[in-house]
């Protein structure tokens, strides 16, 4: 495939310079490889070549229980593992008809938005670094460290945490989590403001981003773009509003569309605003979250309390059967989407009635959004490629799966 594409752009007369970028290039955000046909410093054509991180997640999923697959979703968008987890759970719970308790729904908003914050902080750091703003990278990763510490507080793991489970949460977060979270809201806002001040009015930044990698709203829709890549062109589309999941229908937040010009700057500025909205959502959750259990009382799905496992035969015997064979999911299929930091993340699941999916397919936002790269960089300078890649915000774990 890759060879065919390269031969195609090289043309029959083999004229022009073919430049290979990646897959070990620091500015391709992982193992993306882009083959560029150059005309001087200008790009005539670009072909993204993917597959260097393919792990067969979808195939593996067919031999794992619905709960076990959760751990594989962590490794897709690892910068915002919480969103991948949530997407999977929304699909499984819809198919299995699992009721998630109210408190868990609210708590999922916190975890989801912390994931978005973590994802966007990685994005701003690397994006700025690609373009040449070194200090933003340091500040962003420092702030991200605070988010990861919150995850650590929540469940012990920092990046690939799988803290949510089918039916809610494994357990109620331990004591200092909520206090620590609340205490960091102001810090996050201050940090976000700092990125804004460092970059938004910066001449160099504006020069590198404004009117670079422009896509119109119609083209963006036609290409199936979603998330910031779509909203940057002025389309106000957010699945949290359109098809609310968790408790997003009970909180107020805005859907920023940046400058609406569909350029790198617009996608940048709207993500900055999205981080502020994330903090706003979390503040509301802390305020309004109802008390109650965080795990469904359906014992076929939920895990019994740990102490009972050691004393109660009924608890142990169910725990074993459920964890070995998975809870049976009724025969059928579903497609469920959430608004991940990078766009519409959806899972298509087919069940044959057993405890393991018959088929699992991931509609990952990075995969779809990356398809706009050749369009965005065509006729632009070579240096713009890194700016555009950064602004699409891809993560290869999600593209290759």
């Amino acid at each position: 495939m890759a060879t065919v594409e390269i031969e195609r752009i090289a043309g029959e007369d083999d004229s022009g310079l073919i430049l290979n970028m990646g897959p070990q290039h620091p500015s391709t955000h992982g193992v993306l490889r882009v083959v560029l046909k150059m005309d001087g410093e200008y790009i005539e054509e670009a072909v993204p070549i993917i597959g260097y991180l393919h792990r067969g997640t979808e195939k593996i999923a067919e031999s794992e229980t619905y709960t076990q697959i959760l751990g594989y979703t962590d490794r897709m968008d690892y910068t915002a593992a919480a969103s991948s987890n949530l997407g999977w759970l929304v699909a499984v719970e819809a198919l299995a008809g699992i009721e998630v308790p109210e408190r868990a729904q609210w708590l999922r908003c916190i975890v989801g938005e912390l994931g978005r914050l973590a994802g966007h902080l990685v994005w701003i750091g690397t994006h700025a670094l690609d373009i040449g703003a070194m200090s933003v990278f340091l500040y962003a990763f420092r702030a991200r460290e605070r988010v990861l510490e919150l995850f650590e507080e929540l469940c012990g793991a920092r990046m690939t945490h799988s803290v949510m489970r089918p039916g809610g949460f494994l357990e109620e977060p331990r004591e200092p989590f909520y206090e620590k979270l609340e205490s960091l809201f102001d810090y996050f806002v201050k940090e976000i403001d700092q990125f804004d001040k460092l970059l938004s009015k910066n001449d160099l930044w504006i020069g590198r981003t404004v009117d670079v990698g422009v896509i119109t709203a119609d083209d963006a829709i036609a290409m199936g773009l979603s998330g910031p890549c779509l909203r940057g062109s002025g389309v106000e589309w957010d699945i949290r509003k359109a098809e609310p999941y968790a408790a997003y229908d009970k909180v107020e937040f805005d859907v920023p569309t940046g400058t609406g010009k569909g350029d790198v700057y617009s996608r940048y500025i709207l993500r900055i605003e999205e981080m502020r909205q994330s903090v706003r959502i979390m503040r509301q959750v802390i305020e309004h979250m109802p008390p109650g259990p965080v795990m469904t009382d359906d014992a076929r799905v939920g895990r019994p309390d740990t102490p009972r496992l050691y004393t109660d035969m009924e608890a142990m015997i169910n725990h074993f059967w459920m964890y070995i064979h998975g809870f049976p999911v009724p025969r059928g299929e579903t497609y469920a989407a959430i608004e991940a930091p990078k766009g519409e993340l959806a899972f298509y699941v087919v069940s044959d009635g057993s405890g393991k999916p018959y088929r699992m397919h991931v509609r990952s936002p990075s995969f779809v959004n990356l398809q706009s790269l050749p369009y965005l960089v065509k006729g632009r300078l070579l240096a713009d490629v890194v700016a555009v890649i950064g602004s699409i915000d891809i993560v290869l774990g999600e593209i290759d799966r």
Binding site: T311, M313, H319, W321
Partner: protein, 853 residues
């Protein structure tokens, strides 16, 4: 008359005699069960399967309530669910919290049922007695704490195996599973009880704690220990065989399961269930060995194979193709037997390909024709009476023996057991036991034939049959004439008789005569059918693939010019027309430059071992292809090629019925060993052939083409009157008649390396009647020397009062007591037996006579 009833609003039609449970499962409605098993009679012990039936005063157990027309059944009503949950809670109250380390966890019926009926929280608390585990036998462990008293093990042992070794001891809360009065376990150790146990109460000791249900990988396979061909699963983890078990698909608990349950009816015997551990025995030869300065040294495949190829080519060039000979084995798959036959015929250019089947299956084939091997076990099941001749089926074809027990017991069929050894069918299943003198089985059949011919009013039976008589048979077999006469009357009454004999070691030397006698009996008993049971897993396949000096594929004769030319066309070669050296001819002194021994331990297991050893000495170059460095390899081999077990290769095995079944490779080969078909192919390529087999499938396709090209030609069995030979007599000369047969726990050249099976019989014993022992002045348990044909074996004596007084029973298969050494060319051998402490050799017999007087 089918019955129509309503289950949960769904109309279901089931055959008459079906239960409510059958109807529910047919409708796809889940009913929890614990004590139910499709193979066993409904028991109604666990009460999990209760349902509500309209107009019935209380919930009924569905597994043992017949479905009736117009019944209205509800399975999910509140009282039903409440009852099921209550029963489950009470069952779990006494169940230990062992899931984390219980072998059954993950495939446990109790776990599954508890999850399905929905008990999630204990109301009764936990109250487990915490009793210690109990070793029922070296292979079977019973954990009293986990037992739920469903009685499946007790019932399977009674209804399916027929040993009735297990029972409920005591009653109520004190009840436990065990042997009657806690006697030591006395059974065939088949482990069916382990297989049916719904929880982890009965466990396989060799397998215990070696792998969790969710870690193991299962491969479909076929048992390799005898020719019944029981289908099984091989459980593996990370390239290691953990255990073998009956194919669960055959035991699927759907009552209207019309699937063919295979030759084994979903069962396995001791060998099948426990005899797998030789695969990972430390003694496996894992790389080629080449003899250098008298020592077998490790070598590369390249070196070993090119040496073999060079020696074969040299022998062919110097002494002609007939100076090369191969001995194959019924343990190899169809593909492999086909390839070695092709290698010898096409590449080497000789018919010198033979096997130990020369002594049992091939003479039977010659006497009866291929049609005799064309039967099915389900057809055998239709017979009204069975005359089992010779070796005990429970030793040689255990699962078939168990199935025969079911036919006899459940359907009241007649079983006459005729042999020179006591059998496991004698006490409870055989209606008549005819204990013949060793080697006199054919005399008995001829006597029966003569008697039946005499009685037959129409006189259709050939007059020749009357050349023998009941009285002569009585004299020759040592059985009371009246008993033979009564047996003949019973057989005549049944008419529909299956004459069954295993082609095992007991038959060596008398196979053709016995087959002839059996064929003659069918003349006097026209409705009788013959069931010669092939011995090894692929004995029949070996013959069908033409791996014999005088047979081509599909049992065609080498003299058959038409078959030869058809095969030659397919192989693109002119096939040699001179008959090859049979194994007997080789041993009798044919000149051999290169001897290629595959899967057979000639030096210990051959009949007439002295000749076999002489042959190995005489052969200029000996190649042994086996899993182990057996005696043949250690003493005589110039090259040892490491082959693999059934679990490491894919291949088909043709069972006694002619059913070709595929064994799937479960693990990669151990060490550098290679599947036999691959070794043959590589050798053929080195010898200049243009073979292009990539896997066993490509061989199968070719075999299919070959078999279609040269079909079986059915010739009617030839009936010939043969005067039964005179038998050696041992009256008062201090000698005993040697009897041997296959031993259930020592199945031949691979199974003898199974530590699991060897745990059941540590050392070979010579069984002698206690009166005879006393006469010989030997104590029970004393070591004795047995001499015949210049060989002298030392084994432990064991008193067995079920034997006749003039015999000594020495089971076959033990490498440390090779019976083959004692067997000469004759069918019956008189051996001298003495205490090992006594002086050996020539004087011993007179010394013993002295002791006797």
């Amino acid at each position: 008359m089918p019955v129509t009833l309503t289950v949960d609003g769904q109309e279901v039609t089931v055959p008459d005699g079906a239960t409510i449970l059958d109807a529910c499962r047919q409708a796809g409605i889940y009913i929890p069960t614990l004590c139910f098993d499709t193979f066993l009679k409904p028991y109604g012990a666990c009460r999990m399967c209760v349902v509500e039936v309209e107009r019935a005063p209380k919930p009924l157990s569905s597994c043992n309530t017949a479905a009736m027309d117009g019944m209205v059944v509800s399975t999910k009503t509140e009282p039903v669910v409440h009852a099921q949950q209550g029963i489950m809670e009470m069952t779990l109250q006494h169940h230990p919290l062992d899931c984390p380390y219980c072998d059954k966890s993950g495939v446990c019926d109790l776990q599954h049922t508890a999850y399905e009926v929905g008990v999630y929280r204990s109301k009764l608390g936990s109250d487990n007695p915490n009793e210690p585990d109990h070793e029922l036998s070296p292979l079977i462990e019973w954990d009293p704490n986990r037992c739920i008293y469903c009685g499946k093990c007790v019932r399977v042992c009674d209804e399916r195996v027929g040993d009735s070794a297990l029972t409920f001891n005591l009653r109520g809360f004190h009840s436990y599973i065990g042997t009657q009065f806690d006697e030591p376990l006395d059974c065939v150790e088949c482990g069916e009880c382990i297989e049916v146990c719904p929880v982890g109460a009965l466990l396989s000791r060799p397998f215990m704690h070696s792998g969790r249900a969710w870690q193991v990988h299962q491969s479909e396979s076929v048992c390799n220990h005898c020719s019944v061909g029981c289908q099984m699963h091989v459980e593996t983890r990370m390239g290691e065989v953990l255990r073998t078990k009956a194919n669960p698909a055959l035991r699927d608990q759907t009552p209207v399961n019309t699937r063919d349950r295979g030759p084994g009816d979903g069962m396995l015997c001791t060998r099948g269930r426990f005899g797998y551990d030789y695969i990972h025995d430390d003694g496996r030869v894992t790389q080629p060995l080449v003899r250098k300065d008298g020592q077998l040294e490790p070598a590369s495949w390249d070196e070993a194979l090119s040496l073999v190829a060079a020696r074969i080519a040299a022998a062919k060039a110097e002494d002609g193709p007939d100076s090369v000979a191969a001995i194959t084995s019924g343990r190899l798959s169809d593909e492999e037997n086909y390839l070695i036959a092709r290698l010898m015929r096409e590449v080497v250019g000789t018919n010198n390909i033979d096997s130990a089947e020369r002594w049992t299956l091939i003479p039977t084939l010659h006497a009866l024709g291929p049609a005799a091997f064309d039967f099915t076990i389900s057809q055998m099941e239709q017979m009204d009476a069975f005359l089992v001749v010779g070796g005990d089926l429970m030793e040689s074809h255990d699962v078939l023996g168990m199935r025969m027990r079911q036919w006899v017991r459940d359907e009241g069929k007649l079983l006459i057991q005729a042999g020179s050894l006591p059998s496991r069918q004698d006490d409870r299943f055989a209606r008549r036991v005819l204990r013949v003198r060793p080697g006199a089985e054919q005399h008995l059949l001829q006597g029966l034939a003569a008697e039946l011919a005499r009685q037959s009013a129409d006189g259709n039976a050939p007059a020749d049959l009357r050349g023998y008589s009941l009285e002569r048979a009585a004299a020759d077999t040592g059985i009371d004439a009246a008993a033979i006469g009564e047996a003949a009357a019973q057989l005549a009454e049944a008419g529909n008789v299956g004459i069954v004999w295993g082609l095992g070691s007991w038959l060596i030397g008398g196979a053709e005569a016995l087959a002839q006698a059996a064929a003659n009996l069918t003349l006097a008993l026209p409705q009788a059918r013959l069931y010669p049971l092939a011995n090894k897993a692929n004995s029949r396949g070996l013959a069908q693939m033409g791996a014999g000096a005088d047979i081509l594929p599909n049992f065609r004769s080498v003299d058959d010019a038409q078959a030869r030319s058809a095969l030659g066309r397919l192989w693109d070669v002119v096939l040699p027309d001179a008959a090859g050296h049979t194994l007997d001819a080789l041993m009798a002194g044919a000149d051999v430059s290169v001897l290629y021994v595959i899967g057979e331990d000639l030096a210990t297991s051959a009949r007439n071992r002295q000749q076999a050893q002489a042959l190995l000495e005489r052969a200029g170059f000996v190649v042994v292809q086996d899993l182990f460095v057996n005696a043949t390899a250690a003493e005589y081999a110039d090259v040892v090629l490491p082959a693999v077990s059934f679990a490491e290769k894919t291949g088909t095995f043709t069972n006694m019925e002619g059913r070709a079944q595929r064994a799937q490779a479960a693990i990669p080969p151990v060490g550098e060993a290679k599947p036999d078909w691959q070794i043959f192919t590589e050798l053929a390529l080195q010898l200049g052939a243009r073979w292009a087999y990539r896997n066993s499938d490509s061989v199968v396709q070719e075999i299919a083409a070959v078999l279609a090209e040269i079909p079986v030609t059915h010739s009617a069995p030839r009936f010939a009157w043969q005067e039964p030979p005179a038998l050696p007599s041992v009256n008062g000369d201090g000698k005993l008649l040697l009897v041997t047969q296959d031993h259930l726990f020592v199945p031949g050249v691979t199974g003898r390396y199974s530590g699991n099976l060897r745990r059941l019989v540590e050392a070979p014993t010579a069984e002698i009647h206690p009166a005879q022992l006393a006469r010989l002045g030997i104590e029970d348990g004393e070591s004795v020397g047995i001499q015949a044909n210049g060989a002298d074996l030392t084994v432990t004596a064991k008193a067995n009062d079920k034997l006749t007084e003039d015999v000594v029973y020495l089971p076959g298969g033990f490498p440390d007591a090779p019976v083959g050494a004692l067997l000469g060319a004759e069918a019956t051998v008189a051996v001298s037996v003495r205490a090992a402490a006594a002086e050996p050799a020539a004087e011993s017999s007179s010394a013993m006579e002295g002791a006797e007087s």
